[in-house]
């Protein structure tokens, strides 16, 4: 092990970490905003709406993130007319393509988590809300979603970690995220252990931090479920 390589490139690794965290945070937030309506659409009684949501979720959960990224980053260049529009300024950027594919991907997984949590709502809670004369809208936002959020927290924390790990494919399309930086360092010094172990350990620390944060949140949100101490 040559630690001077790691020390010399430490600022680079920190920049990579910054990009990784930025990509993951942005795609999780935007993806969640898409996931919520998607999960509700999936429950819709209108066939066309629920089929659309089903198809979306099926496609994005059934194919690798790498392929989705390639479809957007390399694939869209096939359409010549697209290159004449303003949208091309966005699609030619690797950063935008990575963000878009991560967002669409996590939206599908999150929608499925939310749907499962909503479907598992105890019927009594809904009945009580109806008995109180709550409108369907109020019922959804005051009773069903807060209750579902508690149930979904654990599955969603896994999705956050999957997204953190999945975001490593950004390093393949020239972005200098944590993985991209490791590839750069490896090609510069030809020292794979130093290069990849460093980013691997940084990923590990971030994963632990996420797990700890979720545990703290769970303690808070699930306080009413904790066994009573005498």
């Amino acid at each position: 092990m040559d630690f001077s390589i790691i020390a010399d490139n430490w600022p680079l690794y920190m920049q990579g970490l910054g990009l990784t965290l930025q990509l993951v945070a942005l795609s999780l937030v935007i993806g969640f905003c898409i996931a919520l309506p998607l999960a509700l659409m999936r429950q819709s009684s209108i066939k066309a709406v629920s089929w659309f949501a089903w198809g979306y979720i099926y496609f994005f959960r059934g194919t690798p993130l790498l392929v989705q990224l390639f479809i957007i980053y390399f694939g869209l260049g096939q359409w010549e007319w697209l290159k004449t529009t303003w949208a091309w300024d966005l699609f030619k950027e690797a950063y935008f393509c990575a963000l878009l594919s991560f967002t669409l991907n996590t939206a599908a997984y999150s929608a499925e988590i939310i749907r499962g949590a909503i479907a598992a709502t105890p019927h009594g809670e809904v009945e009580a809300a109806v008995a109180y004369g709550m409108s369907p809208f109020k019922r959804m936002f005051r009773i069903i979603l807060p209750s579902a959020a508690r149930r979904a927290l654990h599955a969603y924390s896994n999705e956050i970690i999957f997204m953190l790990h999945g975001s490593s494919v950004a390093g393949i399309i020239t972005l200098n995220d944590l993985t991209g930086v490791a590839r750069l360092v490896n090609s510069r010094y030809y020292s794979p252990f130093e290069a990849f172990l460093t980013s691997g350990l940084i990923y590990l620390c971030v994963t632990f931090a996420i797990v700890a944060a979720v545990k703290a949140l769970e303690n808070r949100w699930h306080a009413h479920l904790r066994p009573r101490t005498a």
């Binding site: 194919t63 392929v67 989705q68 490593s168 993985t179 794979p192």
Partner: protein, 229 residues
Amino acid sequence: MLDLRGYGPMLLEGASLTIEVGLCSLVVALVLGTLTALAKLSTSRFLRSVAAVYTTVIRGIPDLVLMLLIFFGGQVAVNNAALALGYEDYIDIDPFIAGVLSIGFIFGAYMAETLRGAYLAVDKGQREAAMAYGMRAGQIFWRVMVPQLMRHALPGLGNNWLVLLKTTALVSVIGLDDMVRKAGLAAGATKLPFTFYMVVAAIFLLFTTVSVLLLHWAERHYGKAYRRA
């Protein structure tokens, strides 16, 4: 309609390699997973901590980083070892072996967690009864535990397989001619990247769908004794 400009057969070759990588890694993952699950359940503190470190570290690092580490790092390690033994020629690591080993190594950790949970879900009395009958440890494991824990393990194993299958796409990065890389080559030659990557996505969807159907069938098979009206 869909015109692949004669690259269809090449893509199918890639698809069969994807399946090969997937199945070979599955075997490695199941063997490693079983051993690790047994280590986690053992009475030896040393084995338990080795297993705990393995599953925690692997599950905290992205697949791609581990794969690159094993592929490039393995290359350096093997050549250094060969040099130390007095072997002068440069040794190239086969990307197929590197891919299968790294995917198997990664998913072994996930399989271990699933198998451990399933093992603990089997009623303790079953094991005790088998011991009372004088069965040997191997017999207890294969005849009593495995058929019963499969029912608990199948949903988890199935999920792991679906994730594993999608992870195989990453082997294209270390130069293995799987479906994704073949699609890239075809796209470069024909200037039809969208078409080719969409075909790859469709083939992955097909694989996933077939896997889900097979898993349903297997879950019914192992759940026979528990079928409800």
